[in-house]
């Protein structure tokens, strides 16, 4: 898109762009280039010399059974978080939307968890499900179920999935409710007069019309599960027990910051960058299509 009327100062536009371009170059482009460079080099133990090793770092990362285990954990974690938070948000939004008069009250009561940090959500869950002090954690043990997410792999993964999903429901809810309120009532009323029941109206009208929102949220939730849940996992399980709750982003941190393996960590960062670029591309294709048809 182009404007007809423009200002013709020569230096001003560069001045206006300077702060953002400077920050972008120093803290985005340069580090990203560094990650690319480091991912194809091997540093000696003192970080003094480095040697070009081609794709060896990638080979090492991708052939490491531990890394593949982490990939598996990340997939289970991300799919569960996405499905749980999308599903429950859609359910709540449909119900809230059907009660028009109370909808805004429910909206206020359901959207505030958006304000919580993922790590804070994790801590709240810990207060409830800690086997020593948590009210539900103790109740589970008293009922004879051996609950300790600090020791049991499956329970740990369940715990981080639930805490991460819990926090994301409100975000999805806001978008689903906005999407639902944009659906013309007349269409639903017409279907209702034709004898379509609530369930049928939902699957034949509401759900298809919501599909752009659903698809958009799908991408956002996957990005959330991949990257923003670092705080959830760090606060709740530190990736443990063992490596049971270690996701890709947690491992980049673990290898790079804790174990100082720069080449390996950079190769992992580059793999993550490829994933983000793919997700962003998918999202933009979708945005383009939405603009095209509306």
């Amino acid at each position: 898109m182009q404007r007809r009327v423009i200002f013709d100062n020569k230096a001003l536009p560069y001045l206006l762009l300077a702060p953002q371009v400077a920050v972008t170059l120093i803290f985005f482009i340069w580090p990203a280039a560094q990650a690319l460079w480091q991912s194809v080099h091997l540093q000696d133990a003192f970080g003094l010399r480095s040697q070009f090793v081609g794709l060896e770092n990638f080979e090492a990362v991708l052939s490491d059974p531990n890394y593949l285990e982490t990939v598996k954990t990340t997939i289970i974690f991300s799919v569960s978080v996405t499905v749980l938070s999308l599903g429950s948000a859609l359910g709540l939004a449909v119900l809230a939307d059907s009660k028009i008069r109370a909808a805004s009250a429910y909206k206020t009561l359901l959207i505030w968890p958006y304000a919580l940090a993922p790590a804070v959500a994790a801590v709240l869950w810990m207060f409830i499900f800690n086997p020593d002090i948590g009210i539900l954690g103790r109740a589970l043990n008293n009922l004879g179920y051996a609950w300790d997410y600090r020791l049991n792999d499956g329970q740990a993964l369940t715990m981080v999935i639930l805490a991460a999903s819990w926090k994301q429901v409100s975000y999805n809810f806001i978008f689903f409710l906005a999407g639902l309120q944009a659906i013309p009532r007349s269409v639903l009323e017409a279907a209702s007069i034709d004898g379509a029941g609530a369930v049928r109206r939902f699957w034949t009208i509401t759900f298809p019309l919501l599909s752009p929102t659903t698809f958009f949220l799908l991408v956002v939730d996957v990005v959330y599960a991949f990257f923003e849940t670092f705080g959830t996992i760090h606060a709740l399980t530190h990736g443990g027990p063992g490596k049971a709750t270690e996701t890709l982003i947690f491992r980049v941190y673990q290898d790079g910051v804790v174990n100082h393996d720069l080449g390996g960590s950079s190769a992992q960062s580059v793999i993550l960058m490829v994933i983000v670029i793919a997700l962003t591309a998918i999202q933009f294709r979708f945005v383009e299509r939405k603009v095209h048809y509306s």
Partner: protein
């Protein structure tokens, strides 16, 4: 077939209650952990540590909050006073939110209202940052910040997070809807680019600025991985990091009362911003993701 129409008198009422019940259950699931945390912050550490936390308030509220707020020593663990951590979080959230808005609005203005060599190069450079979230470039970004000597400083905490493609794109999109006639009229009246920005564009952007502020404030307040890397000294700790440091490895015998009080305090500012500015926030969220 259609429950809310088929039987409007008797069964309809009952069926009508089901959605409310499910919604209330949803509200309860979100409120319960907060309720327990607030209650916990009014009891003493021993009661919580024994695992017998009652569901009604205790009498230690003032002590707990006062101790968490200003002291650095609980009964069992050391911690940075919440007063200091909250201040750090506040500075971080405000600098990120206002800084992002400021540099995004002027760069969007440059891209939308001027023609100059390399314009599209700059635009794409900003656009690409969408694909480089801080999480995927943590180690090299950390090295840059370390080389610049910005570890343990507000500048190191905030500046690397301040460039935002999302905000720039949002402002650019909005600027493209400002009618040409408005700029034309301003030019005829002899207003330059700076005057036009200050007198026309900025006031028109008020709603967008408010909406973005809410989202970016929360984004800044809730940062985790970045402050974890950049801050070493207790004086620079942010409150979200502080909570997990206080918990440590989650032994039963720790200052749970202080941890819970700190958690409540850490939640207050972002939740207050969302609830008080709900209208701006929902609009901003839905708009900025378009």
């Amino acid at each position: 077939m259609n429950p809310d129409r088929a039987n409007p008198r008797s069964g309809g009422r009952l069926m009508d209650m089901v959605p409310h019940l499910i919604l209330m259950l949803g509200v309860l699931i979100f409120a319960f952990p907060i309720y327990v945390t607030v209650i916990g912050s009014t009891w003493d550490a021993a009661t919580i540590g024994r695992g017998n936390l009652p569901l009604t308030p205790g009498g230690e509220m003032l002590n707990n909050y006062a101790s968490a707020w200003s002291e650095s020593q609980g009964n069992r663990v050391m911690h940075t006073p919440v007063r200091i951590m909250m201040w750090n979080s506040l500075v971080m959230a405000l600098v990120i939110a206002l800084g992002k808005i400021a540099i995004s609005i002027i760069s969007a203005y440059a891209v939308a209202f001027f023609r100059f060599p390399l314009r599209m190069v700059f635009f794409w450079m900003i656009f690409i940052t969408l694909m480089l979230p801080v999480e995927v470039r943590i180690i090299p970004t950390y090295e840059v910040v370390a080389n610049l000597g910005l570890i343990d400083s507000y500048a190191g905490l905030t500046i690397p997070l301040i460039a935002s493609a999302t905000a720039t794109l949002l402002f650019r999109q909005f600027f493209l809807t400002i009618p040409d006639e408005l700029a034309e009229a301003a030019k005829i009246d002899g207003a330059g680019a700076v005057r036009f920005f200050l007198d026309v564009v900025l006031p028109l952007s008020r709603t967008n600025i408010a909406a973005l502020f809410v989202i970016l404030f929360i984004y800044g307040w809730n940062q985790y991985l970045w402050p974890l890397l950049i801050t070493n000294s207790a004086e620079m700790e942010t409150v979200v990091i502080g909570i997990t440091k206080m918990i440590g490895n989650g032994e039963a015998a720790t200052d749970w009362n202080l941890i819970m009080a700190t958690t409540v305090l850490a939640m207050l500012p972002p939740v207050a911003v969302v609830v008080l500015m709900q209208r701006w926030f929902v609009k901003g969220l839905v708009d900025s993701e378009k």
